[in-house]
Amino acid sequence: MDHRTAERLISERLDGERLSPRQAPALEGHLQTCASCRAFERWAYRLREEVRFEVAPAVPDLVEPIMASIAAEATRGRPRLRLGRTPRGPQPRRALLPRLAPALAGLLAGLVAGSLIVGGPWRDRSALAASDVAREVAAAAPAFEAYQARFAITEYHLSPEVPVRELSMNVWFAAPERFRLDVTDHTDYGSPATPTDLRLVVNGSAWYSSGPAACPSATCPHRETLVRNRAPFSEAAPVPTDIVLPLTTLGDDRGVQVLGAGTVLGRAAVRVELPFERAGPLFPFLELGGEWRPFFHNDRVRIWLDEASWFPLRWEVYPAGGHERDAWALRFGLPEEPSRRAVFTVDALSVELVPPAEGVFAVPETARAEDQGARPVSLAEVPHEVGFEPIAPRELGGLELYRVVVPAVEPAETLVTYAEGLAFLKVGETRSWSAAAPFGPVGLLAEEVRLPNGGLAYFEPATSELGRRLSIHAAGTDLYLESNLPREELLEVAASLPVTGLAMPEIWRVRRTPEGATSRATLEHAAEVLGVPIQLPRALPQGFALASVELVWVQDRVGATLHFHDTETALAAGPIRLHLEAADELPPAAAADQRSVEVRGAVGRYSPSTARLEWIEDGLYRSIDAPGLGLQELLELAASIPTASGGAAP
């Protein structure tokens, strides 16, 4: 036993952990011969004694001031937060701020006044990292119970005839699934035109949307959709709660930059920036109907987030610069758009963290309704309905039972959901799964993960429509979990299910295709089949990891495709694929817009439209497909693959 292990075991034993029958005698044996570890143990005990008796400083009696502030709050009722349109000094952060030194108050007042003079409500402070923001937003989700807000939307360059549009938006939310969004168009079009007036109402099992259908003429027909028996947290009839708390948008800090902090409408706020393609969930109204201007995938979205509750206070779209965007803008007939001027802004006029009136979520009746078929049942009724008692996790990450439904599918399955604030968990189960693929919205190329309980599960990251997902194939049952809890928490929840997940059966892993077959394999097996060792790129984008390896047979040729995915959230870019196959020359180009580039000392090929880089090395054809990455990043990725001898690329 080495010193480090011994010290760790000493530490655990001291803290009341039981060592295993193998560890205990091994530690004793080590201690008998190791003076250094004996000293560690002796000092650890002494440290405990001293700390427990000496560290405690004189404690002030705070009962009175604490109870005074509680009494004050109890008289005021629930905490209410109101934001005024007129910028004003920072509001006291309840108990904390009023007690800060007067010097700080002076400093704050000076900064706010300064920002008003220069016209920007922020000041550049970068003490917060993007990962802090992502973590804070995720941590705020379970406590986010109720919300109502008013926004002003300004849109530029819809068309040459309509250079500016003014709209307003009202949003109401009550956890977990009551939501309403109204957009009212105040634009004076000057000619007959259908205003972009939209409404979305979700009330648990009912989902309603109305608005003008997108159409080529000036006046467009009105469209109404009603969904009944909606499944809880249904991706087909979604609730766009990122507008309330950007849990999906900021579920992953990749591509997110913290620009600074400051005050917006008198609230302490943090400003972050990310590309438009990653910020889609903040613009749900674009999907609800009517006409909207186009956005370039790389346009910059700047969001001010409330620093206490993390709801967005303001978000703005700034054009990305560069030739590519200019060419794109030309196609849409957009005028020149300098990158320093916002082309779209959403501004909070008021936000209140109070429950909306019940009537707000009343779903209008319409003639045309779609039935999603998710029949509500009580947990007690489930065995009678489907013939089995659904398995429940013992650890629920702090969530509570929400809705139980039996979807209208064969074979019978159950969907038990849990929620707290904006955090949710779905657990689906069936006892008669016969398809040759994982149960639930999980693909065959999902990442195989070893759960803390030793079982296997197949994981897929969150997308803009779906949460993080796990499928578990166990003896006699198949389950899936979907949640917006962070990956680690979801894995803990899954590990608390009283089942042990098994590896994907052979019959799922092998697929016949018209040209040959594909088969999910291990990296070692793929290397064996190709007859060469397979090296992984070292410079993967942050958060990416190897998800799965697939062998692909086409006629008499075989290749291996390695899939890398983002381990938390995949909003814009899809997985990165690295393909290897024995060949002496590049195959015919698959895309028209390709050009020659030097890759690792050889002549390779780059296809911008598919973000693909191809080259031949050591008798192997290699390609990297990485949607969202540019040539430079692709070349860096390629260069980070160790050579067969283990060194860096030439």
């Binding site: 000293a39 000496e54 705070l62 502030s69 509680i70 109890a74 007690r99 800060l100 941590a139």
Partner: protein, 175 residues
């Protein structure tokens, strides 16, 4: 650490202010000490304690008893302390760290304070929760929102770091 009387807790959850005051009396010293060790600042620790109880009062209705009340309260206190530390960092206002008077019997205490201050925040937190407040690994993991295994290894590193800071590694010659 003590657990509250379940009847008091039940009354507090129903909004009974007197019952909540009993909880404040029971835990205010522990919460303040924890906040103090996190922030190294007496006044800020008072603010954090007040804020933590105010948040606890708001959310006690939702406390479901799936962890110990003390763990739940520490989790809130920790979040408040993290907010306060961050706010202090953001505002770039730093009180000089408080140094206890190193005289006579207080010397050992001063050394311990200095050693604790020398340990990184990541390692100080589990050390305080387990060593000073007597939480189990599971409870500390709950408070910190990390896995038990992480707490175990941080605890070991914290001890080693404390010993280094107290310069005890010289004493390895055996009893």
């Amino acid at each position: 650490m003590r657990d509250p009387d379940p009847r008091t807790l039940a009354r507090a959850r129903e909004g009974d202010i007197d019952a909540f005051e009993e909880l404040v009396r029971l835990y205010q010293a522990d919460v303040w000490r924890f906040a103090y060790h996190m922030t190294r600042d007496r006044a800020l620790a008072e603010d954090v304690t007040q804020e933590a109880f105010l948040r606890a009062f708001r959310f006690v209705r939702g406390f479901r008893g799936d962890s110990r009340f003390s763990s739940w309260l520490f989790r809130i206190a920790r979040n408040c302390a993290v907010d306060a530390i961050r706010a202090r960092r953001l505002e770039e206002v730093r009180d000089p760290p408080e140094r206890p008077l190193a005289a006579g019997a207080a010397e050992a205490r001063a050394e311990l304070h200095a050693a604790l201050a020398a340990v990184s925040e990541e390692h100080r937190e589990p050390f305080l929760l387990i060593e000073v407040f007597g939480l189990s690994y599971r409870e500390a993991a709950d408070v910190l929102g990390v896995r038990v295994g992480t707490v175990k290894s941080r605890m070991h590193r914290a001890r080693a770091a404390m010993m280094r800071a107290l310069a005890v590694e010289e004493d390895t010659g055996g009893p």
